[in-house]
């Protein structure tokens, strides 16, 4: 029995090693490396295939690792499109030379200038803001004004935020470096860390739940997490999310920090035309509505409305900083956070 199964396994092993080609090239397909996880992109890809007859081969993963794979595979990489869920990684990809400029009037017309690369190497697909979320019973929104004001000693022990290893926090600090300079950013990070209610742990939803439960009075988290909790089926999560109000800071100056998910076409894309078509599809009204409704993100197109839940948070002024700068200052942001012992 044991020996028999060994033989079967051996045969299967050889078969697997020989029989599986790296990538299949055909006219009617497009290969996608996506940092957006499968269940948040697959339904759209299926719609794309249904509309165009172009099949999509999908590989999901973490942005840095997909980028690394893309670089190592070089000119023979099968990848046509790279999707990431923050601007910093798109900028890294551009700097690594794995993206190429897209010539598309459709995209130029649909995606506002501040949410795309100046050389056309990447385009934003959806937006998420990182505002201040406060416990409605404990904080009067009139006490809130800017990110900077959160360093005031009156917030000591009242703020929840996740680890600084998370790219959303890194991008937020990068944005501050870009607009206020590293000295100011440094002071802000130190002041914020001094006011934390507990050592950073868990994800964005955990911060929201902690604020709802009374561990802290303020949570800093991305809008779609709160939106998904409010719109989801889980009653406990919904109740927790309903305890919190959303305050968009810095409305008098640069605006609230936003980040994008976005896409670019690779330098050696074997299916270039299909790649552009896919990105155009992802900015279509249909796809933009799907982002809004299914994942509670803000559509990148101004002419497509946000979901009802997000509209409930109110209109706000976005920080229109050149998003490439997020990637530019990322390493410095991490150093600042290291020095401030933001775990």
């Amino acid at each position: 029995m044991f020996r028999h199964s060994l033989k079967v396994f051996a045969i299967a092993a050889v078969g697997a090693a020989l029989g599986l080609p790296a990538a299949v090239h055909a006219d009617d397909e497009v290969n996608l490396y996506s940092a957006r996880q499968e269940n948040l992109i697959k339904p759209l890809l299926d719609d794309f295939t249904r509309d165009t007859g172009i099949s999509v081969n999908l590989l999901t993963g973490r942005a840095d690792e997909l980028l690394q794979r893309l670089r190592l595979e070089g000119r023979n990489s099968p990848a046509d499109v790279l999707i990431t869920v923050d601007a910093g990684n798109l900028h890294q990809a551009k700097k690594a030379g794995v993206l190429s400029a897209i010539e598309s009037d459709v995209l130029d017309q649909r995606v506002p200038e501040s949410f795309r690369d100046e050389d056309g190497q990447w385009y934003g697909l959806s937006l998420r803001a990182r505002p201040i979320m406060y416990h409605k019973d404990k904080v009067d929104p009139s006490e809130l004004s800017t990110y900077e004001a959160l360093t005031d000693p009156k917030w000591r022990g009242r703020i929840c935020i996740r680890s600084s290893s998370n790219v959303y926090n890194q991008s937020m600090v990068s944005a501050m470096i870009a607009s206020e300079g590293s000295e100011a950013a440094s002071q802000w990070v130190e002041g914020l860390v001094a006011n934390l209610a507990r050592p950073p742990q868990g994800g964005d939803r955990d911060q929201i739940r902690a604020a709802a439960a009374g561990v802290c009075d303020i949570a800093i988290a991305n809008t779609y997490y709160l939106g998904a909790m409010l719109a989801g089926d889980d009653a406990t999560q919904r109740e927790a999310a309903e305890q919190l109000g959303v305050f968009f800071p810095n409305q008098e100056d640069r605006g609230t920090h936003v980040n994008i998910s976005g896409a670019g076409v690779t330098t050696h894309a074997p299916n270039r035309e299909n790649a552009v078509r896919l990105i155009e599809f992802l900015t279509s009204e249909e796809a933009q509505r799907w982002y809004a409704e299914a994942n509670q993100e803000y559509p990148v197109r101004p002419d497509v409305p946000a979901s009802e839940v997000l509209q409930g948070f109110g209109d706000f002024k976005m920080d229109t900083l050149n998003l490439s700068l997020l990637g530019e200052h990322n390493a410095e942001a991490v150093r600042i956070m290291d020095r401030a012992r933001w775990r």
């Binding site: 790296a22 590989l59 023979n76 996740r162």
Partner: protein
């Protein structure tokens, strides 16, 4: 550890034979295999020579101390934990008799199927401030946050507990296999010489099982060093999180690889120290006679204590999280009642089974070649390749991708230049690359287990077989493999379950449209959609369960005494090589 009584383990005669004048096939194969397997780790070490600017200075001034301290504390805590749980329960189910023993002996392996990060997410979901346990406490007492004390699960201690719960089975499994394979005669002798059960354990069985205990401990500790999911979720800064932070955050892959190299050197020194410490004490089975030793019948409070000792790790390491996962899975049926999910299960199972066979076959080649020749290059390469287990999977994956992509692209460029045809990527992005990464990453698991098993076979057996005209391959397949059946199955099981849970290398190396259960569980759990991820996590556990139970039964039957008893009853077929009783080879 004290030196065992001189009468019991015979110091081994050196196994090294006179060097053969021309290199034989075994030598060539083993050196090649070892070098190829060592390649990814060598690639990481290669980064040591790259310049990294001032990142090191920055790390020294800020986080490095915390990385080192936390990693050491975690190693220490989990090390103590897995020994305290793993060794006693292995002894209890091997030589004592108490209610439920037959169930416990396989059920104790169950936590092995729980990925560490899943158990961490699950317990956090339950014990967190907003989880059901604390909500109940508040509802009952009317207290609010900060008005009562409750242990913080997301802490260093919490991480130690989580990792201990899922890693103690390594120690348990290997130690138990060692206890079962021990020649019962030494225990009998120790009993006739007046040793009670405790002396028999501490002075005879434990010293004899020491290589296996250490092997299990080493595996558990290497897994601790490689863990990323648990510590990242708990917000604990360790070497592993430091590597990723340096790589992604500080955008310095070279410095990250250097951190990984430091980690590796550390493990390498530990392994060398351990090997050096037992260099003079090699434990072979000195007797070939096996008989069934009557188990100690435990009664009264001793039986209760034994049951409790076995039940608690299963309860906390498996039952409670599994029940919680089942509750969640029942609430999210749409996520798993579909054909795509069946495909996931199939992919995972197929990949794990394939990887297990490959890793064990490679380990067997390497271990056996070392037994015959013990060449320095092979030895070193094997040690280097074995380090792969302590490295975060992502780092190994990069170490695999680099040479593979280089090979593919060089070949492609050559073919384009010479013949005008493009060969594209032959290896990169295939399952073959992924299987290779698994082989590197889990070689330590199969090798430790196989070497421990092989080491217990007396060299005189080889001599006897060879003098009777057997070739090395024949000796391996007809003498060693039958004796080591239990060991081999243990190794297969360990690698199988490890691959089931493996995430980082799978994530980065897998081909298009190919997902495993671990990838699915991670994508959802990483997005804090715990309930939705539960079905995939539960499926990992269930897929792991079947082989755990089957193999556990086989391992028990593989106990030499058991088989001989079977044979005496005429149940074993004489001409089936697998059934050759261990003892008769030296007759």
């Amino acid at each position: 550890m004290s030196t065992p009584p001189p009468t019991l383990p015979q110091p081994a005669r050196p196994t090294r034979r006179r060097p053969v004048s021309r290199p034989n096939l075994w030598q060539i194969t083993s050196v090649t295999v070892a070098l190829i397997l060592a390649l990814p780790v060598l690639v990481i070490f290669g980064h040591v020579f790259l310049p990294t600017g001032d990142v090191w200075q920055h790390l020294r001034e800020t986080m490095l101390g915390e990385y080192v301290t936390n990693s050491l504390l975690l190693l220490f805590g989990v090390g103590v934990g897995v020994l305290v749980i793993g060794v006693p329960v292995a002894w209890l189910v091997s030589v004592c008799e108490f209610p439920g023993r037959r169930i416990f002996q396989w059920a104790l392996m169950l936590p092995l199927a729980m990925p560490a990060y899943i158990i961490a997410y699950t317990y956090t979901g339950m014990l967190d401030f907003t989880g059901p346990v604390q909500v109940l406490i508040r509802d009952l007492t009317g207290l609010g946050f900060g008005q009562y004390w409750f242990p913080e699960i997301r802490s260093l201690t919490g991480a130690m507990l989580m990792l201990t719960l899922v890693l103690y089975p390594y120690v348990y499994l290997l130690t138990r296999a060692a206890f079962l394979e021990q020649s019962v005669c030494v225990l009998e002798v120790s009993r006739t010489l007046g040793s009670g059960p405790y002396a028999g354990f501490f002075r005879v069985a434990l010293p004899l099982a020491r290589p296996a205990v250490i092997a299990g401990l080493t595996l558990a500790l290497m897994e601790v060093l490689a863990d990323y999911g648990t510590v990242a979720y708990f917000g604990i800064a360790t070497f592993t999180t430091g590597i990723f932070r340096t790589w992604y955050g500080l955008a310095d892959p070279a410095a990250a690889a250097q951190l990984a190299a430091v980690l590796l050197s550390f493990v390498f020194v530990l392994i060398l120290l351990e090997r050096w410490s037992r260099v003079r004490a090699r434990f072979h089975h000195t007797s070939s006679r096996y008989s069934n030793l009557p188990r100690y019948q435990l009664r009264g409070w001793k039986a209760t204590a034994a049951v409790a000792a076995c039940l608690l790790p299963i309860l906390f390491g498996f039952l409670i999280p599994a029940v919680q996962l089942s509750i969640w899975a029942a609430q999210t049926t749409s996520h798993w009642v579909n054909p795509a999910f069946a495909q996931l299960v199939f992919n995972t199972f197929y990949l794990a089974a394939l990887a297990a066979v490959i890793a064990v076959a490679l380990a067997l080649i390497l271990a056996y070649a070392r037994r015959m020749q013990g060449g320095f290059i092979t030895g070193l390469a094997v040690r280097v390749a074995g380090l792969g287990y302590a490295v975060p999977g992502t780092v190994i994956a990069i170490g695999v991708m680099l040479p593979f992509a280089w090979f593919d692209n060089t070949l492609d460029a050559f073919m384009r230049a010479q013949f005008g045809i493009s060969t594209g990527l032959l290896l990169s992005g295939t399952l073959a690359a992924l299987l290779f990464a698994y082989a590197v990453r889990f070689l330590a698991v199969s090798l430790q287990t196989v070497e421990a098993g092989l080491g217990k076979i007396k060299p005189s057996m080889d001599d006897a077989a060879r003098s009777l005209g057997m070739r090395p391959l024949g000796t391996l397949t007809r003498v060693h493999l039958p004796i080591m059946r239990g060991t081999l199955l243990t190794a297969l099981l360990l690698v199988f379950v490890d691959v089931l849970k493996e995430l980082p290398a799978t994530l980065i190396l897998r081909p298009f449209d190919f997902n495993t259960l671990a990838v699915r569980a991670f994508e959802l759990a990483g997005d804090e959609r715990l309930a939705e991820s539960s079905s995939a996590a539960l499926a990992i556990v269930l897929v792991g369960l079947l082989p755990v139970i089957l193999l556990s039964l086989t391992i028990e039957r593989s106990r030499p005494g058991q088989r001989q008893r079977m044979q005496n009853r005429g149940e074993a077929r004489q001409n089936e090589p697998l059934a050759v009783p261990a003892g008769t080879q030296t007759a």
